[in-house]
């Protein structure tokens, strides 16, 4: 009688422990989910509610549909100051690797319409540069790496639907923002191309890709 009572007590205690452990794990999952949602809202305050990009004082790039490997690589570049940006260093340096992955995966899945607003006059010229390059100035076709539809792959960014002013700013300021310091940085691949494009060619390409869906 006594033994049975003891066994029951032990069993109850074991069950109680087990349930509380499950409860604790659920709390942690809920907590992590809440933290991710709060961080996503923080990103979207500047990058647009659907990640389509936004024009503040500075142009905020589209993140929707972006290659996750590119987003993660850029966040690391901000932290290591290979890519200089006064706002994004502060943003990125508090992100854990796992939340970076979760954010990048989320933005990958968004597909809003392009932000729009690019001048329309040079779109045809931009399409030609994008698809054929400028052999006389050593500019390869953008499509060779970024894909015919501008979707990018792995660490090569998607350009389709990118905010016009952002693309212009990046291509004209490549040397002063990307690949800073002595560490190896994949942005070096773009440096000669960015250098060889004139301002009006940059504007043409930026206008073309900004309209790609």
């Amino acid at each position: 009688m006594k033994a049975v009572g003891l066994r029951q007590t032990l069993l109850t205690a074991a069950l109680a422990l087990g349930f509380s452990a499950i409860g604790h794990a659920q709390d942690m999952v809920v907590h992590a989910k809440g933290a991710l949602e709060a961080k996503l809202e923080y990103c979207k305050t500047c990058h647009g509610l659907s990640g389509q990009g936004y024009l503040g004082y500075f142009p905020m790039p589209r993140l929707a549909g972006q290659q996750p490997e590119y987003i993660e690589a850029q966040l690391r570049a901000f932290i290591e100051r290979r890519r200089t940006n006064p706002i994004m260093f502060n943003v990125a340096h508090v992100l854990s690797p796992s939340i970076m992955t979760a954010l990048a995966t989320h933005f990958r899945g968004l597909n809003p319409k392009p932000f729009g607003g690019a001048p329309r006059g040079s779109i045809a010229a931009g399409k030609r540069i994008y698809e054929e390059g400028l052999p006389e100035s050593n500019v390869p076709a953008c499509s060779a790496c970024h894909g015919a539809e501008g979707k990018g792959q792995n660490e090569i960014p998607r350009l389709a639907g990118q905010v016009y002013a952002y693309t212009v700013g990046q291509l004209t300021g490549w040397k002063t923002e990307r690949g800073q310091g002595s560490a190896v940085d994949t942005s070096a691949i773009m440096a000669p191309t960015a250098h060889n494009l004139t301002r009006s060619q940059v504007e043409a390409v930026a206008a073309y890709v900004s309209n790609l869906q």
Binding site: Y42, T45, C46, G56, Y57, N90, H93
Partner: protein
Amino acid sequence: MKRIGLKIAIMAILASAAPSWAGESPAVRNCTWCHGTGAQGYTVAPRLAGQRPQYIMSQIRSFREHARDNPFSKQYMWSAVAALDPHTARDLAEYFATIPPKAANDGDNTLASRGRTIYLEGIPEANIVSCYACHGPNAEGVRDIPRLGGLAYFYLKGRLEQWGQGYHSGPESPMPMVARHLGPDEIEALASYLSFVK
């Protein structure tokens, strides 16, 4: 003699057509009555001098459409703009934008440096975004994003509190999302810092 008379008549017509409000037109005076001498702001009515014209126009639209719905807007601005035609609204916005703004300098000096840090960097750990990204390095604003530098402490504090309380500004503003994360200390620090920005 006849010639001179005609010339004067033409000049008079040209002068009346030009949107120069040099002597404070009735339309301007209707604004500065509350918004202060030289449109530099007065108590609850914010400074309009130096404000971005596109922002002034967007807010006039928001008042007319009752989208900007905080108590003072409801009480004063909804009726104030009701009879304002879009053409006059644009002339007023452009006129006020040309007046050099003066800083209110009425915040708490001891909070200004913390306010500056929040303005530039946000508080990433608390998901508070940087103000600088949209309002610019010197809080000067751009397009329809308002100039904040030098606005009155009371006005800045009130606006930040109201967004957190669920009031609106316009249909597209991200400010309700921004302000929801700000606590009273952060709001006081930001409003203090901005009141000193020239």
